[in-house]
């Protein structure tokens, strides 16, 4: 680290060495564009020196030079012009638009590139698209906009983490999350929560979308190899807004609306239904001859049924009670941007509030940002991007079936218990599940998250094609987690109230230094060489404690706890160092392009001998439309063939896995103790991804029809795999570099601008991506037997996708006996009622979609506009969680908890063809089988926006620049393939439905004002 600082100093010293040159006279002039309008902010530099200036608002400049010196006039989007100073003191210049520069410039990582010079596969998503989906974190807006990128929110609770998979999954044990880069600096954006039980909180949710200019998603190795060992899962580049030269411009946006569950959730049984089913079960079990007798027994002998009967058999409708209908969403942002002759700024403040669709959960964020850049001299530029935010999440226990959670209670609560007392106050009911109306009111479970990111860079245009720079970025994340369980009712009563509080401080530092050299060899061969050094340090400090026994209500800080019960603190860190070399070569006006990258990277997760890895990529592109033989083909505006191959890595495993370790986190009899915690593996090294990618990009008929086709093949080798160990070793797994898997697929993107006139515009577009995933190698044991990894519902085995569903196959309910049956061989033929006799088999497909597609439509007519976007995911499956208790014909739904109304379709007498078997009052063991495995294909109308842009003439009269009003819908309609699937198919990638808040649909009204 010290060395990096020394490096920075060296760099600064070199800058100081700069010296001035002799000045002979002052030259002035005006710079205009082709239409004769003044161009402000044009760089005017004496060639080969750092002497330079910029034009002012009126396009005027003034500079001291000697006769014979050469002045270079440059401005983004215009051809560069040079003038040799002669005897005159005034030189007016007219700059021509650079046709080549009209090529879109895209941020591609450590560099920006013209579209035609890009050899990799990447997609840029504009600000407009990013704001179309109302959510606390911006990643959700990527769904459907990037071919091959699948987003799945882990929960509908606002602020929760979303899982993103780019081109399938490359690893079994190591992470599959892409790398996030904000303004050129890799950052950590995962789950910040300290609890594995309560709602997750995404570090990305700390960033206000309205400060984001664009997001670029890098998919292939040519694009991602520059990020070396972290590029394997793709890279998401976030570019924040900067200021522009000119008068200060204000922008105000607001979006207000309400949200509900995106699809109707399963309906719980009513009490009237439950007593019928319970009586039937008793008869089926042979306890009673008739259902009337059984019912009689229940209302006389079961305490709860008796109470309910005496009270006149009321319904309780917990689902309605625990729902938060029309949950509020509101978002406001105000920004100002502008710039003077040598500075530019963008400043914003934002506020977002979002409620969940269940009671007792919400998210709130207040944020501010300031991006400022100052040109110390025309060749030395400083910029500083700063953002800070504070988020508050009213979280709840949702990551399992916690009895205290309102989502759990919706289905698990025995409806014989009533939510309210007669006077309308929440009832202090008994039983295992406390009344969530009381616990959400009197208990809390809160995440507070403060994030400050400051990125500072210095860029020096040395001249002669050389440039250099340094970057320093701090990402400080302060996290606080508090819980309190009240002393009057529920779980906190025995201990007179429980409270805990945890704090985590994460600090990430990134240093970058680079040197760039552009040069040309006789104008036909352009080279751009970059060398870069990067160092990242991540440190995390955790402190917390818990206590119970509070003397009074309203106390929940640990100082008031009568009995401290635990205290903990810990520290962890990791480091990464890298050297990067990039070469871009383009020949004959970008007709041929070659990009090379090489990165050497070291990571603290591996033993010293295996710490460094080498990653590289080769990419080439052929811009056919620039060839003479196509120059006359009028219909073809753009045609590029590109291909790339590269090696990237993945080191996303737990810290210190390579060492065999004792943990001291155990204690016994009040004394510290130790026990082995990691098996260790000194040979641990990088997981390697080898990606081949080829694509064709095109634009036809004045670019009315644009699109691309791509194919990729990604081999992941030396997988960082938690290899199952014989547990006789004392360990379940050891992380090893073993195993291989492959992902391949096609991606298509097409946009048609059907009408494009001043008054009317219509374009439709879409993207489609396929990905096929297969495990190709797994470790063998000494007998040569493959060590598969099997859970109750999935198996990892060669020849199959990762975690393909694997379980016995349900053969239906026998119409004669009413019993569930399974196929003995797992496929067909003989059936059995003994679950343990049924063989588990692969069920085809895992939880990752094999086909994803996005469709969009944009229409505008004289200021009115409609934008719509749809998303389809298919080819994957989803398993229903908790069915033993909620969705089986046993005693749990009718006697202990509650179940879904779909259970009414059950066998009652011989000859019945029913989905569910005959009811029994007994409990059942967990038996997971294909009845509860569903096709997860769905189609969703992600966004529809209908709006109106007020005419600019009208706006100017009231002193404004532009105004837009709109009504927006998110997830308004959903089609689900499998009718038996009761839950929303858009689930987290764990592959099993849970009791988290479901995805939401929203209706919002918004206003954008610029003045």
């Amino acid at each position: 680290m010290k060395k990096s600082l020394q490096g920075l100093l060296t760099l600064l010293l070199v800058l100081v060495v700069q010296i001035g040159f002799a000045q002979e006279k002052t030259v002035t002039g005006t710079v205009l564009d082709e239409d004769g309008l003044p161009l402000p902010g044009v760089n005017v530099i004496e060639q080969g020196t750092s002497n330079g200036t910029q034009t002012d608002f009126d396009g005027n400049y003034s500079i001291s030079v000697a006769p014979g010196d050469v002045l270079v006039f440059s401005y983004v989007g215009f051809q560069q012009q040079t003038i040799t100073v002669g005897s005159s003191n005034v030189y007016n210049v007219s700059l021509l638009v650079d046709a080549a520069a009209l090529d879109e410039v895209v941020v591609t990582g450590y560099v920006t590139q013209k579209k035609s010079d890009i050899t990799g596969s990447l997609v840029e998503v504009s600000e407009e698209k990013l704001t179309e989906y109302a959510a606390a974190s911006v990643d959700q807006a990527l769904q459907g906009n990037v071919a091959g990128l699948a987003v799945s929110a882990s929960s509908g609770t606002p602020g929760s983490v979303a899982n993103i998979r780019i081109r399938g999954i490359s690893s079994i044990t190591a992470g599959n999350e892409p790398l996030y880069v904000i303004d050129g600096v890799p950052v950590n954006n995962g789950n910040a929560s300290a609890s594995a039980a309560t709602s997750s909180i995404s570090a990305l949710a700390a960033i206000d979308q309205s400060t984001i200019e664009s997001i670029t998603v890098l998919k292939d190795a040519s694009a991602t190899a520059q990020y070396g060992a972290r590029g394997a899962n793709g890279v998401i580049l976030i570019t924040t807004k900067g200021g522009k030269y000119g008068t200060t411009r204000f922008n105000f946006t607001s979006q207000v609306g309400f949200q509900n569950d995106a699809i109707e959730q399963p309906t719980p049984l009513t009490n009237a239904q439950r007593i019928v089913l319970a009586s039937e079960a008793y008869v089926n079990d042979g306890f009673f001859a008739t259902e009337a007798e059984a019912e009689d027994f229940l209302v006389n002998n079961s305490a709860l049924f008796a109470q309910w009967d005496q009270a006149g058999r009321p319904e309780s409708n917990w689902q309605q009670v625990l729902r938060n209908p029309d949950a509020l969403f509101q978002q406001y942002s105000l920004s100002a941007s502008g710039g003077g002759e040598d500075n530019r700024f963008f400043a914003s403040i934002g506020y977002l509030e979002q409620e969940a669709t269940v009671i007792g959960s919400s998210f709130e964020r207040i944020s501010g940002s300031l991006n400022f850049s100052k040109d110390f001299s025309p060749s030395l530029k400083f910029s500083s991007n700063n953002t800070a935010s504070y988020s508050f999440q009213d979280a709840f226990l949702e990551l399992s079936a916690y009895f205290d959670s309102p989502r759990t209670a919706t289905y698990f609560m025995n409806p014989l218990r009533q939510p309210y007392n007669e006077d309308g106050t929440p009832a202090e009911i008994g039983g295992a599940l406390p009344n969530p109306l009381i616990s959400t009111r009197d208990n809390f479970n809160e995440n507070r998250f403060t994030r400050i990111i400051s990125g500072n860079s210095l860029d020096w245009e040395i001249g002669g094609g050389f440039s250099a720079g340094a970057k320093f970025n701090v990402d400080l994340q302060l996290y606080n987690y508090r819980t309190y369980t009240n002393r009057n009712y529920g779980y906190g009563v025995p201990t007179s109230g429980d409270a805990s509080q945890y704090d985590r401080t994460n600090a990430f530092y990134v240093f970058q230094n680079y040197l760039n050299y552009d040069f040309e060899i006789n104008a036909d061969h352009r080279f751009d060489v970059k060398v870069l050094q990067e160092y990242q340090a991540s440190r995390s400090y955790f402190l917390g404690g818990a206590g119970n026994n509070f003397a009074d209500d309203g106390l929940f800080y640990l100082a008031s706890a009568g009995t401290p019960t635990s205290v903990t603190s810990s520290f962890s860190d990791w480091y990464m160092g890298a050297y990067l070399g990039l070469l871009q070569y383009s020949a004959f006006d970008s007709r041929y392009v070659l990009n090379l990258s090489y990165r050497k990277e070291g990571n603290s997760r591996f033993a010293a001998d295996n710490r460094w890895g080498d990653f590289y990529s080769v990419g080439a592109a052929w811009n056919l439309h620039k060839e003479n033989f196509l120059a006359d083909a009028g219909a073809i505006d753009y045609l590029k063939l590109r291909g790339s191959y590269g090696v990237t890595g993945n080191a996303n495993i737990g810290l210190n896995n390579y060492q065999s370790l004792f943990t001291y986190g155990v204690d016994y009899n009040g004394e510290g103790a130790q026990a082995v915690s990691t098996f260790g593996n000194n040979d641990l090294s990088w997981e390697i991804n080898k990606t081949f990618d080829v694509g064709l990009e095109f634009g036809f008929f004045q670019n009315a029809l644009t699109g691309s086709i791509a194919y990729f093949n990604r081999d992941s080798e030396d997988l960082l795999l938690d290899v199952p160990l014989s547990q006789t070793t004392g360990f379940a797994t050891q992380t090893q570099n073993i195993g291989e898997l492959n992902n391949q697929g096609f991606e298509f993107q097409l946009t048609a601008n059907i009408i494009d006139t001043e008054d009317v515009g219509l374009s439709i577009g879409g993207n489609l991506a396929t990905v096929e995933n297969e495990v190709t190698k797994l470790p063998l044991d000494p007998n040569g037997i493959e060590r598969t990894i099997t859970t109750t519902i999935t198996r990892i085995e060669t020849g199959h996708p990762v975690r393909e569903y694997y379980m016995p196959t349900w053969a239906g309910v026998n119409p004669e006996t009413g019993n569930d049956e399974w196929y003995v061989n797992g496929v067909d033929g003989e059936t059995t009622t003994n679950f343990n006799d049924a063989e588990a088999v692969f069920q085809g497909g895992n939880s990752i979609p094999t086909i994803t597609a996005g469709m969009n439509l944009n229409f505008n007519f004289k200021g009115f506009f409609i934008n719509a976007q749809g998303y389809y995911a298919g080819g994957h499956k989803i398993y229903e969680g908790w069915h033993l208790y909620l969705h089986q014909t046993n005693g749990f739904p009718i006697l202990a908890y509650n179940g879904y109304q779909s259970l009414l379709d059950r066998w009652q007498e011989p000859g019945d063809v029913a989905r569910h078997s005959k009811f029994t009052s007994a409990g059942q063991p967990w038996q997971r089988h294909s009845k509860y495995l569903y096709d997860a294909d769905f189609l969703r109308l992600r966004t529809v926006t209908v709006g109106y842009d007020l005419p600019s003439t009208a706006m100017e009269q009231i002193g404004m620049t532009s105004a837009r009003i709109y009504v927006r819908g998110n997830n308004l309609a959903t089609w689900v393939k499998d009718d038996n699937l009761l839950y929303d198919p858009e689930q987290d990638l764990g592959g099993e439905t849970g009791l988290e808040t479901p995805p939401t649909k929203a209706v919002l009204v918004g206003v954008n004002l610029t003045f």
């Binding site: 060395k3 070199v14 060398v531 050297y579 004792f662 155990v666």
Partner: protein, 456 residues
């Protein structure tokens, strides 16, 4: 132009001079952990690992809950009403190979014990004699873990097969894919470990009941020998404990209260629990009880017939709560708020009963020993020390502590699967494959040398 190239060169050199973050710069900090290879340096470290071993034993996956409850709900003492959905599978004999049960926990205990046992005392700093004592304690714990594995997974009650469990004596040893040893081999290894432990330990270091003591080793040996019907060994081992004068049967007056406190006169070895270190809601109390405010999982309740095994005057009725819909154990592991009760693993009463049974089988004076219990429980004395009486007294005394299942199996009783409503779903004749747990699927998948028990 030269100027520029010159400056470019300076820049190139300066970037180069930002010389490497070297490999050492990327060393991670070990704040909470230490490397296994470098941190066993003194006898104190051995004791620290021994505490870790005890901590692992007290986890809910082992003695904190699982091994005691799974055996209780399969016996005729208790069953699961599924109040929180827990232990119904075991109570109804419906288990399959998806649950790990104690397999991983017991082998974790063995792995850590092996680090202690195989440490070379000569290379360690500190009191070497004490080091030998700690190694003896670890050896005894290793025997207990192997015994627990054998009685849960071994084929001794399945009617066919002679397979036990793998004997593991090395941490990260050469054979990471062990096959199952036979029942006889495992039994021999257990006896050998217990003898070794007894010879290495020195009772001057036995100053706490939350660690296994030298006499505790003999008590354990008597338990193992009773299980296998090695009566002479059982008698000899129990005799040493019974005649040691170190322990006594708790008196009638103190019986119920003794469960409230720790380290009573009858306790030989117990696992420590405290307000800040306990299995919490995943412990024993939470599984047996429901508090007045409704908290508690309370899945496991006594079968109604349990009331009938006690005379009205028997103080042991005091541990039962019959006020609710079900009969509950509220007396053993009573603290269902702070969960502070230590978990007794070896009580003197059990050793007395082991002794009585061994004497009965070998023709000694069993009745005197047997009657030590009713005499201290407000119950009538037995007229004869028959097998039935001994088993009855064991049931009365050791109920809810996880003994009854083994007692039923070793005497070949028919078992009953009980539904959540208390109705008998099925009777299971002895022997049956259901009397051995399945080897966990994860083990089968990881180790092809492993042989699954029949029926799974």
């Amino acid at each position: 132009m030269k100027k520029i190239i010159y400056k470019g060169l300076i820049m190139a050199i300066s970037v180069g001079a930002i010389s490497s973050c070297t490999t050492e710069d990327l060393d991670p900090t070990l704040a909470q952990n230490k490397s296994v290879e470098q941190s066993v340096n003194n006898v104190g470290n051995l004791f620290s690992i021994l505490k870790g071993v005890h901590s692992l034993m007290s986890e809910s996956g082992y003695y904190g809950q699982d091994v005691i409850i799974t055996n209780e709900v399969r016996s005729d003492n208790t069953f699961s009403i599924g109040n929180s959905g827990r232990y119904t599978t075991e109570s109804q004999y419906l288990y399959n190979n998806n649950t790990d049960l104690i397999w991983n926990n017991a082998y974790e205990v063995i792995a850590n014990a092996n680090i202690i046992i195989n440490a070379n005392l000569e290379n360690l700093e500190g009191d070497v004699d004490y080091g030998a004592h700690v190694q003896g304690q670890a050896t005894a714990i290793r025997a207990l873990a192997h015994f627990d594995l054998l009685r849960e997974y071994g084929q001794q009650h399945t009617g066919s097969g002679n397979l036990g469990v793998p004997i593991v004596t090395e941490y990260k040893g050469d054979n990471l894919f062990p096959a199952r040893n036979t029942i006889e081999e495992v039994k021999a290894a257990i006896y050998s470990d217990l003898e070794m432990a007894y010879s290495m330990m020195d009772s001057q270091y036995d100053d706490s009941k939350v660690y296994i003591s030298k006499l505790g080793v003999k008590a354990l040996e008597s338990r193992v020998a009773v299980y296998f019907g090695d009566w002479t060994r059982a008698r000899d081992a129990a005799e040493i404990v019974v005649n040691s004068g170190e322990y006594s049967v708790i008196s009638a007056d103190s019986y119920v209260d003794s469960w409230q406190g720790d380290g009573g006169v009858n306790v030989i070895f117990e696992l420590a629990a405290s307000q800040v270190d306990n299995a919490g809601i995943n412990g024993l109390a939470y599984m047996y009880q429901i508090n007045a405010d409704g908290s508690g999982y309370g899945d496991v309740v006594a079968r109604p017939e349990v009331l009938g095994i006690y005379e009205d005057s028997d103080v042991r009725l005091g541990i039962l709560d019959t006020s609710g819909d079900w009969i509950r154990n509220t007396g053993k592991y009573p603290d269902n708020v702070n969960f502070t009760n230590n978990i007794p693993l070896i009580r003197f009463e059990e050793v007395v009963l082991n002794y009585a049974e061994a004497l009965m089988e070998t023709g000694g004076d069993a009745l005197t020993q047997l009657n030590k219990l009713p005499a201290n429980r407000g119950a009538s004395l037995y007229a004869a020390a028959t097998k039935d009486n001994i088993l009855l007294e064991r049931r009365r005394e050791l109920i809810f502590e996880g003994f009854r299942f083994d007692d039923q199996l070793r005497t070949g009783m028919t078992m009953e699967a009980v539904g959540t409503d208390g109705m008998i779903m099925e009777t299971i004749d002895y022997p049956s494959y259901l009397f051995a747990w399945p080897i966990p699927l994860s083990e089968m998948n990881a180790n092809s040398n492993m042989v699954q028990n029949d029926g799974y």
